[in-house]
Assembly symmetry: C2
Homo-oligomer: 342 residues x 2
């Protein structure tokens, strides 16, 4: 795999490598976001949006659009083309809209180290500004006039919303299957990752195989990332309790390690899960007991294996793509999202 243009940045994280390589494009994306989040009539809209957008998210989704487009040769084929910039801003708007609504649904108080919009203003503003950003995303993505890209983003929007509802109804339900978990994860993370990479390839005029490969990359990357995140909430595979351990347990979320442990529960363990997850009657020492049961069944190791397999799948998909310096960066990114598990 060629590494030119990436070697000199070897000490940078893959996200920072992407940022560096895509800096000119990202400046255009950020300018477009600032322009389009404005509202002539309702100043509350840019206030709420800026609070969230300028808190400095990692902008991973717009960078995935841009990277996919570049790898598939977008700027050289259409030197004046701005479609990748528009699609990149679109996915960031969709993402921001879902964050605003998520914080209302989860009654969150903090996001990106700052108080949430629902706390600073109110739930009403978060709901309505989220709707506005979704509509703005929709306006933006109509502009390139590519019906296939519109279809990809429309389908991703439906998958996201469906996954959120599914997560809501699956919460505290100990019969939740790994299949349902995967649907929730696709809604939560993977659907917008894969829509970003797929639509980026599409507007670059890539072949159907390349478009499919970039879809697979984004989907697998998102799933690997989310499983790793859920596993880290139980302290990774060390089962040692750190300061960020146990949030999902306390909120009774059915994530992969828990689902795997429940599927192998004996009668006594089953009674334990019903008490702490279904009924929510948690007491001192329950998290430790949950971790002990998970370790006993190898649930944490099994979840780790799954995350690594999805990471491998993401990297393998890249082999179908043309040579490009950003290929190594995307590969490193897929490795990076699960590196926290080692």
């Amino acid at each position: 795999m060629k590494m030119d243009g990436v070697n000199e940045q070897a000490r940078l994280s893959p996200q920072d490598q992407l940022s560096a390589w895509l800096s000119a494009d990202m400046a255009a994306v950020n300018a477009l976001i600032r322009e389009r989040m404005n509202s002539e009539h309702a100043p509350r809209i840019p206030e709420v949006t800026a609070h969230l957008i300028e808190a400095g998210g990692k902008r991973i989704r717009p960078m995935l659009v841009l990277a996919a487009a570049h790898i598939c040769g977008y700027p050289s084929r259409a030197p004046q083309g701005q479609d990748h910039i528009k699609l990149a801003a679109t996915v960031e708007f969709i993402h921001t809209a879902t964050l605003l609504h998520d914080d209302v649904v989860d009654e969150s108080a903090q996001r990106r180290g700052r108080p949430t919009a629902n706390l600073l203003w109110d739930n009403k503003s978060s709901v309505l500004v989220g709707d506005y950003l979704f509509a703005r995303a929709f306006q933006l993505m109509v502009e390139p006039g590519n019906l296939q890209a519109l279809n990809i983003l429309a389908n991703a929007s439906a998958t996201i919303a469906e996954g959120e509802v599914l997560q809501l109804t699956a919460a505290q339900d100990i019969t939740t299957s790994e299949e349902t978990y995967l649907k929730v994860v696709r809604g939560k993370t993977a659907a917008l990752f894969s829509a970003a990479t797929e639509s980026g390839a599409l507007i670059a005029g890539a072949s159907p195989e390349q478009i499919r490969a970039l879809y697979t990359y984004g989907d697998a990357l998102g799933i690997a990332f989310q499983i790793a995140d859920d596993l880290l909430d139980y302290g990774g595979t060390s089962a040692a309790i750190g300061k960020n351990t146990g949030d999902d347990f306390r909120e009774r979320k059915l994530t992969l390690p828990l689902i795997k442990a429940i599927s192998q529960a004996d009668e006594a363990e089953r009674a334990f899960w019903i008490r702490v997850i279904e009924k929510g009657q948690q007491q001192e020492g329950d998290l430790e007991e949950a971790l002990r049961i998970m370790q006993a069944h190898g649930a944490l190791d099994a979840a780790r294996s799954d995350a690594l397999a999805w990471s491998d799948r993401a990297r393998e998909a890249l082999s179908l793509l043309p040579d490009h310096p950003l290929k190594a960066t995307l590969s490193a990114l897929a490795e990076y999202v699960v590196s926290r598990l080692n």
Copy 2:
């Protein structure tokens, strides 16, 4: 104006005339709505949606799409075309999504004579199912593959969301202008009415003048309807207190009669408006006093004149359209929405 096909239904309201004329199309629209509101994975979605959609709204928005398409000759030009059905279902989905979010924002307990979804389930479900319906609308409207129609509906979605935020921030602000009121009304009602009629004409292949005329009709119809509604909340021009009088006053909403009265307030009246609307310190007899002040300045009559003028504008726009039995029905509809003021 020709009345054939409508005369025999003369005793029906214009909505019922539309329902009768469009019954075959509306059966297809309702079937499509039922099909698309389903979710394989999240049964909560059709539950919440059915609760609202099957409560029997008047379906005025989808009927406006269909009527505009028919008047502009859609079915005869494209006998197998289903685009008008898809667009009609789209606008009903957008409308339903906004109702779900509105009831969260307004903390409403009743809608269409039934408990609201946010009360029966929870705010979370209303937010997320609303998002899902908006995404489904988006998928549906991509299907006809008409970029201009997509643009119209994307713009309407942004106007709706912007109007809602504007209404939120303008509430209790006695400096709200008639211009701001009009923007709120467009967001609340007229933007989706005009998007319905404009997109219906567009997919029928109408001329730019006809498309523009149907845009104007929908816009003016929506504004006339909303002004009439806001006026009736103060008992129409009779200024008699009925059982439905005064809700907007109690919620301190800046609607047209109030804005007109405030713009002419002397010092004492101004102090009154600051106390009851801005500070919300309302007491027994305040509504009567508000009505007396409005009468004294002719604010109710002036609002009524505005509503009638918008109704006239809607009917005049129809003169640019080809002869069609539904023209008389649309004209009667524009008269009907303000007839409650006589």
